[in-house]
């Protein structure tokens, strides 16, 4: 069911967008900060953004007013600049000064009440998505990566990937969040706020992107030594592109073409398969990220390294050098074995 006030976000968002254009140097700074939440590319973000800016501006105004009042009070009637020890100085109570409190607290209370009402209005708007989501994605936080599972009533439509989430633009998507080990927090700031992924309970949130793009996400609940390097990407794409991606993900990756790649698969299964899974092969580990269609991803190691052969080589050679304390141990591989594994992984389109 469509909620009427969801439509109201549209013109407001345009207004705020205009304001951002006015402050274009500021918006450039935002653009250079991919995790900033002072701009928005999603429906939930659009509803919250005016409130974020509103309370920020009110806060700055309050600070300026109080600072002026304090400075004014100091410079208005300055007494001595030093106090000679023990000298008696005049003491007087000419004015009670209580009006300051009544007026100041009165105005403050009105502003605070306004903020409460505004908060409640926005909260009501973002609590549930504007329309019933057609797509549900289960995201499980692990130390220190994200497992992403596309749910469906039809078991044949379910598949698992890691660290990169694809969603179609223009429709809300439901996220079910779980913590596999400790508490993590799921956050794509350009699209919406945080929701914790807690062991033993399933939290829900929703996001809707209104324009295609690659949005950065980050774990924001301290979850151990590699909390800092637990990123992810959310790729919002047109419904057509999304459908194509999804269809491709559902297939098993193509078999290796060359003997070297076959050797790579064998080595992968022997050395990596206890933790990692690749659909259609004997590698079926559940501990680490599913690597089927690895080459479709922009990054590796939970959003830390670009996904190119050189960085793949770096990562496999020394995961502990890149993410000290990560649960992936340095594999005992000869240079040849490593090269064969990389040549095989590069086929996983």
């Amino acid at each position: 069911m469509r909620k009427p006030f969801a439509i109201a976000a549209g013109p407001k968002a345009v207004g705020w967008a205009c304001l951002c254009v006015v402050f274009s140097p500021v918006s450039r700074a935002f653009a250079a900060a991919p995790l900033n939440y002072l701009t928005s590319a999603g429906v939930q973000g659009d509803s919250v953004l005016p409130l974020t800016w509103g309370v920020t501006i009110i806060s700055i105004a309050v600070i300026v007013i109080i600072a002026i009042l304090v400075a004014g009070g100091i410079w208005r009637r300055p007494g001595l600049s030093v106090q000679p020890a023990g000298r008696r100085l005049p003491v007087e109570e000419k004015a009670s000064g209580l009006n300051w409190i009544w007026i100041g607290v009165g105005i403050s209370s009105l502003v605070l009440l306004f903020m409460v009402v505004w908060t409640m209005a926005v909260l009501a708007r973002v609590t549930s998505p504007p329309t019933r989501p057609a797509l549900t994605i289960e995201v499980t936080g692990h130390q220190w990566w994200w497992q992403v599972r596309y749910l469906s009533r039809d078991p044949a439509q379910i598949f698992t990937t890691a660290n990169e989430i694809h969603i179609p633009v223009g429709e809300p998507v439901r996220f079910k969040l779980v913590g596999a080990d400790v508490i993590h927090s799921f956050w794509i700031p350009q699209l919406g706020g945080k929701t914790d992924a807690i062991p033993g309970q399933t939290n829900e949130t929703w996001l809707e992107a209104h324009k295609p793009g690659i949005y950065r996400g980050q774990c924001t609940e301290y979850c151990g030594v590699q909390h800092a390097k637990m990123g992810m990407l959310l790729i919002a794409e047109s419904p057509g592109d999304f459908a194509a991606w999804r269809a491709h993900q559902l297939q098993s990756p193509a078999h290796p073409a060359t003997g070297g790649q076959w050797a790579g698969l064998a080595n992968f299964t022997a050395h990596c398969g206890a933790c990692h899974a690749i659909r259609g092969t004997d590698a079926a580990g559940m501990v680490g990220p599913d690597l089927s269609h690895l080459m479709q991803r922009h990054t590796i190691a939970a959003g830390i390294l670009p996904n190119d052969p050189a960085d793949l080589e770096r990562w496999i050679s020394d995961p502990q050098g890149i993410k000290p304390g990560a649960l992936m141990q340095k594999p005992e591989l000869s240079a040849n074995e490593r090269a064969s594994i990389i040549s095989y992984l590069e086929t996983l389109n």
Binding site: I66, V82, S96, W100, V105, M115, V116, I183, I198
Partner: protein
């Protein structure tokens, strides 16, 4: 009719003669040397120890912060390993929040309360000594673990399951949990002492509407601690049992709850935030008017606002948990409460501003710290309101915005008033004034450094920088902000160093202060600087809020306050017990002499906890045994204290 020594009509003296002073000195003075050091129950001695110990921990926490800021000054820095960084940020939080911010205020209040109230000591002097010794032992216990690489490494709020055995196998969390329970004992007995002292030890005539605001601040904080500490001690005890005895309170796979920890922790944690700012706000409410040469505007509403803040402070803990998936209805309630709690703070802010506007400011260093605090308090307050708004908090939480907010609260509302209070009361503590010229340098370095260092954290937070990260990647838009933060925090550290230099220099060679260098109105300034062990030769009688300004304000009742004529009470260590509201004299109290019982008890309790930590059950048993014996000895009825049949003095 038989009356006892405790019901006799005490002598009244109208002159402070030397013979009487000598007699009191013999009765109240602590023995010199190690014996006196270990056995003293003098609140001033204990207060100074608290202050010095707490500043020691402030320096330790500051060094930890400086190392972390080096690591974060540039993206991808490598001076610390992730594990080292995690222990540092956790230990830094633990140190500043538990070992500095609370105890420093206990120190000031311990020293000042009896003087402000016109009393000879706290109500329970031996408990006071115990509170300090346990604090010291808990601090050493926690830092000893840190020194061996077993400091807390799961953040100061120590969320489970990360802090549970499967994800944190080392002894780090066991030390943290036991150390926190130990520290909780200190805070609890200290809080009880403040409450009893308030109810029983005020000078005759000091009805509750005449006590300084610092008294209200520490009183409400103490009352809050009585209710808040059990939650966190319980949480840590359950965690310790989970980790060591195989219970399942927080163990999710066997039906435990991860969120239970967060509720228990924040039911304590948020009231604690107010407990470590309200006494500091009280310091400003009492100190600022002295330099504005007028009484505080709105005494009654400020006192009520202090209490109201604390009461409301128990209803906002969930704002630390907005992202945990709680139902919208409870989010709404806690969001509204978290925003509305600002109202009593606004009362205090406008009371201070009005005091400045309707007064005539004297520009001392203390005044500068107190007034700058008003602005810093406002910044920390409004950023708190922002995090109280649920949808906004879903973005702000766990980013550097919150780091900025909590440092404006803890440094702005605790450190700045404390440094100002040191400039203000240092002459009373030592008899010497602090250097005002160095004071200016100190103030401006701290003020500029603090804002330069911590204000940009708001912006790095708004630009998405998560908290508790040991490093960050290039190209996230945070590089310059972090470099500025590091530079600013180092400037701030230089400011703190100037403060310490000033303390040392003034202690050695400062100008002699006299009894009342600021011409201030309250009772602590009526005695010598530093005060004698017995505080006052005769117990003052109070007739207004400003006993030493009565000649100029003319607001007192009857013939006015007496500070040099009053009850003598010289049969032994004696104090006057007064009624809880109007402070009418009620009974003569026999005060205990110096005792080793507190220090022995503290050591025994610490041995008990160390035994638990090392699974050295014999040590735990031995500690428990000594605790039992010590408590029996402590509570053994003493005739001198009126705990046995009372000696009759009249037939």
């Amino acid at each position: 009719m038989t009356i006892t020594d405790y019901e006799r009509v005490p002598t009244v003296s109208t002159d402070e003669n030397q013979a009487l002073a000598d007699k009191f000195k013999r009765l109240w003075e602590t023995k010199p040397g190690l014996a006196g050091f270990l056995s003293t129950v003098d609140h001033k001695e204990i207060g100074i120890r608290y202050i010095i110990t707490a500043f020691g921990f402030l320096i330790a926490g500051g060094v930890e912060a400086a190392v972390m800021r080096w690591q974060l000054a540039w993206p991808g820095e490598h001076v610390l390993t992730p594990e080292q960084y995690d222990q540092l940020f956790s230990t830094h939080g633990m140190t500043m929040i538990f070992l500095y911010a609370g105890p420093i205020l206990s120190g000031f209040s311990n020293y000042l309360w009896p003087l402000l109230l016109g009393a000879r000591d706290m109500a329970l002097p031996r408990l006071n000594a115990l509170s300090y010794w346990i604090y010291l032992c808990a601090g050493i216990f926690l830092y000893a673990a840190f020194a061996f690489g077993f400091g807390p490494n799961d953040g100061w709020f120590n969320y489970v399951p990360l802090a549970a055995r499967p994800y944190n196998a080392g002894p780090n969390i066991d030390f943290y949990a036991l150390g926190m329970i130990l520290l909780g004992i200190s805070t609890t007995v200290g809080a009880i002492n403040f409450i009893v002292t308030f109810l029983r030890m005020r000078a005759p005539g000091m009805s509750i509407n005449r006590v300084p605001i610092l008294i209200w601040g520490t009183l409400t904080a103490s009352a809050a601690n009585i209710f808040a500490i059990p939650a966190v001690s319980l949480a840590f005890f359950l965690l310790w049992m989970d980790r060591n005895l195989g219970t399942h309170f927080f163990d999710v796979p066997t039906g435990g709850s991860a969120l239970l920890w967060q509720h228990l922790f924040w039911m304590f944690g948020h009231p604690w935030v107010y407990a470590i700012v309200l006494p500091a706000m009280g310091m400003v409410s009492d100190g600022l008017p002295v330099f504005c040469r007028r009484p505080l505007v709105g005494y009654t509403v400020v006192a009520l606002a202090t209490v109201a803040t604390m009461v409301l402070g128990f209803g906002v803990w969930v704002h630390h948990m907005f992202a945990t998936g709680l139902p919208t209805i409870s989010l709404s309630f806690f969001s509204a409460a978290s925003i509305i709690i600002t109202v009593p703070s606004a009362v205090a802010i406008f009371a201070w501003i009005a005091t400045i506007w309707t007064g005539r400011p004297v520009f001392t260093t203390a005044f500068m710290f107190f007034t700058s605090f008003i602005v810093l308090f406002t910044i920390g307050g409004v950023s708190g309101v922002m995090t109280g708004s649920v949808p906004v908090d879903w973005q702000l939480t766990d980013t550097y915005f919150v780091v900025a907010h909590l440092h404006y609260v803890l440094i702005g509302i605790n450190v700045f008033p404390v440094v100002g209070a040191t400039y203000f009361w240092f002459p009373k503590f030592t008899g010497r004034l602090m250097d005002e010229r160095l004071g200016r340098w100190n103030f401006w370095t701290m003020f500029i450094g603090f804002n330069l260092g911590f204000f940009p954290m708001h912006i790095s937070g708004l630009l998405g920088m998560p908290r508790r990260v040991y490093t960050y990647a290039d190209g996230m838009g945070w590089d310059w902000l972090n470099l500025i933060t590091t530079i600013g925090s180092y400037v701030f550290a230089v400011g703190v160093l100037l403060f310490l230099i000033n303390v040392w220099k003034s202690y050695r060679r400062g100008a002699v202060a006299g009894d009342n260098p600021w011409d201030a109105p309250t009772l602590e300034w009526a005695t010598t600087s530093p005060p004698p062990p017995y505080n006052f030769v005769v117990i003052p009688t109070v007739a207004s809020r400003h006993p030493l300004w009565e000649d100029r304000l003319q607001q007192h009742e009857g013939e006015g306050s007496h500070v040099d004529a009053g009850l003598v009470l010289d049969h032994d260590r004696e104090a006057i017990g007064t009624s809880s509201l109007d402070a009418t004299p009620d009974i003569i109290l026999r005060m205990p002499h110096d005792s080793y019982a507190p220090v022995i008890l503290a050591l025994a309790v610490t041995a008990f906890f160390a035994g638990l930590a090392f699974h050295a059950w014999w040590l735990a048993a031995l500690g428990a045994l000594v605790v039992g014996i010590d408590i029996i000895g402590w509570l053994w009825p003493e005739r001198k204290l009126g705990e046995t049949a009372e000696p009759a003095i009249h037939g």
